[in-house]
């Protein structure tokens, strides 16, 4: 899922300082799974903001509401009946959700409460780790199911570099060396010969480098 981190309280307070009545919008999907912006986090943030504004003034009225998703207009539409009553929307969704809410309510300031970071997985409750960078050309078959773009700090296709040490990355000794993982996996699958192939330069057009991306399925369009 998409993983994010709630912004520091100070930053959020600064962004909403001129508002006295806001709608705090959570999301029930990815940000709920990584405990950054779901219903529970909405409750905690609303209480924190209220405590500060009660203490230091001016008071604030916060409506808490959590949508199933903020990346589909059918759900965003659900707030249409009452959105007018609020001066601004503080959204705890990922960057995609925040933007989509803003697109649908162009007259309302929409403020992000979460820093969206990566596409990842749940290692255990409370720990999430990056796995994919959406490069648009998946090479996982070649590397035993471990992504060299996302899990190697330098996105090397012919890794490892000279900085790999005891299975850890030079960038952070807590981070696994992606290429050590790949080599171990290929060895375990008896496929280490794949390692000898010199992988050609990557076509980054399908990644962010090619420009904002879009996908269309004509057969599904109404």
């Amino acid at each position: 899922m998409i993983v994010g981190d709630r912004k520091p309280l100070e930053e959020i307070l600064e962004m909403i300082k001129s508002y006295k009545k806001i709608l705090l919008l959570g999301c029930n999907e990815c940000v709920t799974v990584c405990a950054a912006g779901g219903e529970r986090e909405v409750g905690v943030l609303a209480t924190e903001l209220n405590l500060v504004r009660m203490k230091d003034g001016p008071g604030i009225e916060i409506k808490e509401h959590t949508l199933e998703r903020q990346c589909d207009y059918e759900y965003i539409d659900q707030i249409r009946p009452f959105v007018e009553e609020y001066e601004a929307i503080l959204s705890m969704a990922c960057g995609a959700g925040v933007q989509y809410v803003a697109e649908h309510f162009a007259q309302k300031p929409v403020i992000p409460a979460v820093n969206t970071t990566f596409l990842g997985v749940t290692i255990e409750q409370g720990v999430w780790s990056e796995r994919c960078q959406g490069c648009g050309e998946c090479v996982l078959e070649r590397t035993g199911g471990i992504c060299p773009i996302a899990r190697c700090a330098k996105s090397l296709l012919n890794g490892p570099c000279g900085g790999s040490s005891q299975g850890k990355c030079e960038v952070d000794r807590e981070v696994d060396c992606g290429w050590q993982l790949i080599i171990d996996r290929l060895t375990g699958l008896d496929l280490l010969d794949r390692y000898d192939e010199v992988v050609a330069v990557k076509d980054w057009k399908t990644a962010r480098d090619g420009g904002p991306r879009r996908r269309v399925r004509e057969d599904l369009r109404l």
């Binding site: 905690v44 924190e48 009660m54």
Partner: protein, 131 residues
Amino acid sequence: MRLNYPANLKVVKVPCTGRVDVLLMLKAFESGVDGVCLAGCLEGECHYLKGNLRARKRVEYVKKLLDEVGLGAERIAMYNMSAAQGQRFAEMARDITEKIRALGPTPVKAGARAREQGPRPGENEKEKGGE
């Protein structure tokens, strides 16, 4: 045991401190209390195995949040004791009362929010029991 403890302590009983989550602790402060303490079973003796350990982690987290909002981490604390330790309970009550008295009343004015929920006369502290 008929030991005395300060009258400004409001006791809320729960089956296990593990039931007390972050939002509940924060909402207590929002309602205007000056301090919160949790009394849970001795570590390793939780009736539900790990509830008191989860509670401790959450209390540590709420301490950070209280510092963030400017109320102060000292306003919440967790104590561990067994059902038989009446002395310890009284000790905890005196301890937390002293600590909160020294910090002074909560800077959060009850304000519009508390008025919505109705007045809570004379209440300074809330306490949640274990077992």
